[in-house]
Point group: C2
Chain length 379, copies 2
């Protein structure tokens, strides 16, 4: 049977210690049972994880490659995650660096249903980075949020997302908000001739996420956003693949810091924000940009972008969508850094640039067009 | 409107820095927008988080108490989590130490539907810690797993859970496994006169978790187990409250290490494994015991037990269920440490004690009875 592989890094005193830890990890993630008590040769030799490679890293840690029989995870996403890191997440010093699922797994998980080309096709914009802002703050009425969306759309922005803090609160109930904002953006699009997309936040409890996504689709939404760490990634995936939804899904990173905040535990930025979210069918992946009020470094952001684009056979690439700390001053740097296949999120910066939001968006769009024209070879 | 509070710890250079960070956190978790640009006084004064207290900790970190308007989270669990820690999870050095939901939130979230008394009532065992083992390793056939369950049950164990690695793999498909193990335990109970409960693992992708829980109920299960970090905690909650399920839920910690592994980020053991999981309606909470192959310290395990039992108005307590590293040698220590209201999980230890599993379980049960009789005042 085919095997999938996971590359981990771990802290060890020397190669012998690393090899012992790697074997323990491979047993923990599969048998979770004393290896010496297993009598069935198929279980002992095939079902148990297999240490395929081990090498020291410049950091002093060790890199370990473990392969797992595809049968251990089958074609279920939660069980795949469980074999990759379930119990070992509870041990300090071990980090998931990268994943390589089998062909049958990628075929089953499917990945982004739209991806970069699909999202560009929806907008009819192919030559430049895409622009997104958010309606906020929480506490505004539905009418005020719809008015913000209208003004953003008139300026020519590509995407307007609900702030991730907009759920179904009394001050802007979900269904009313979605209907009003859809209508506001539709009116603006008639005026501009553009195809600005409003992205409702459908993050909710349990099966309510799917129910809200279906409502959003019915109301005319062309994309949705889900905080996958709040709902569970398999819920994001289920919504993305639901035939009654059929919309591109933006991932919001609320609560996701828990997975990547420790440099020696959890997941690498490449594995979590890139590979895993693509396997969970996210089309665009929002994360905190370097240099802003969050702490992600340039290297971590580059790893996320690489994870969004790295080859996974038969799985589409996703759009990296950096947000936080974006302003008019660093658009050029961002284009050079992320290339054109990215979504730039700007929130507070648009409000600060000009109290006339429509003007602010138009200025940003012009700046991006100018920068792209000036750097024809950026990609 | 009522306010809920969250106690965080954070790294800061001095009190002034801590105060600034606390204010930034309170803004990030609510407005996520420049505070100085907010003109609406209700939003600026009520919707924004409020720093209620700040004090230095012996560790050199600072403890910060922030209150949030109940309206920001409403009565949704995912949005509650989002306000508690959504974006701030992405910033290093901030940890959630404890939570205090409002009365309306606890009424809405509801908490354990059975709790300690409910689980004891199902078993008819009131005077001693409860005992649990798991059928494993993965790779065994349905018949072999059912045989293991039968032998455990004959020995007098209280709970037999699926190993968390048993999902719906080809080697033991979910429905066949549940039916066969239910029948095996039923036969054993007829023989022993006891009420041993078999606990199927219903962890699955998206809405499949609920579907499996309903199947388990139909098949006669009296409890289920869910790896809540794999499914998302709101899915665990939905299943626990589903009227067609109506079963106590055991929480398994697979992937949960991501939330607590860093001592300066994520959640404290008290907040995550105790408070949050109770709000998510877990009746029994499995976690790695100190002294075993995992790294949880005695202090962390004590904090989990305290979180399972700490007063949350109108929310039942949960049973702490330490596993990993439990053996015949430390039963007395465990009873002294956790008291009688706990579930002790023993896996490999039972296999090592005696190749006759039924004998092994009977010996363990006798040991626990003897220890409880010898320490009449443990509670």
């Amino acid at each position: 049977m085919a095997r999938f592989t996971v590359v981990y890094s771990l802290a060890a005193t020397d190669s012998a210690d690393a090899r012992k830890q790697a074997f323990d990890l491979a047993v923990e993630q599969t048998l979770e049972f004393p290896h010496d008590l297993v009598t069935d040769p198929h279980i002992r030799d095939e079902i148990v994880g297999r240490v395929e490679a081990l090498e020291p890293l410049p950091s002093g840690r060790f890199q370990v490659t473990v392969s797992y029989d595809e049968a251990t995870a089958g074609l279920e996403f939660t069980q795949f995650l469980n074999v990759v890191f379930g119990n070992t997440s509870l041990k300090p010093g071990v980090r998931v660096e990268s994943l390589a699922p089998t062909a049958a797994q990628t075929a089953a998980f499917r990945g982004p249903q739209f991806g970069v080309e699909g999202l560009r096709h929806l907008l009819g914009v192919h030559h430049r980075p895409l622009l997104c802002s958010a309606i906020k703050p929480m506490g505004l009425s539905v009418a005020s949020l719809a008015d913000l969306a209208h003004r953003f759309a008139l300026g020519g922005i590509d995407f307007i997302k609900d702030d991730h803090g907009l759920a179904d609160q009394a001050f802007s109930p979900f269904q009313q908000r979605i209907s009003a904002c859809m209508e506001a953006v539709r009116r603006a699009n008639l005026q501009t001739g553009r195809r600005c997309l409003y992205i409702p936040n459908v993050t909710a409890d349990g099966s309510q996420t799917l129910a809200r996504a279906r409502f959003a689709k019915q109301a005319g939404a062309a994309a949705i956003i889900i905080s996958g760490a709040l709902t569970g990634l398999s819920t994001l995936r289920e919504v993305a693949l639901d035939p009654q939804v059929g919309l591109p899904v933006f991932f919001h990173p609320a609560l996701s810091g828990c997975y990547t905040i420790s440099p020696t535990s959890g997941f690498s930025h490449f594995a979590f924000f890139g590979q895993l979210l693509r396997l969970a069918c996210a089309d665009a992946i929002i994360f905190p940009n370097f240099g802003g009020r969050f702490s992600f470094s340039r290297e971590e952001c580059a790893a996320i972008a690489a994870g969004c684009r790295s080859p996974i056979p038969a799985v589409r690439t996703a759009l990296p969508a950096p947000g936080g700390g974006l302003g008019f001053h660093n658009v050029r740097d961002l284009i050079n850094f992320y290339g054109r296949d990215a979504v730039f999120l700007m929130g507070g910066g648009l409000f600060r640039h000009n109290p006339d939001l429509t003007r602010s968006v138009a200025d940003l769009l012009q700046l991006v067009e100018d920068e792209v024209a000036a750097t024809p070879h950026a990609d």
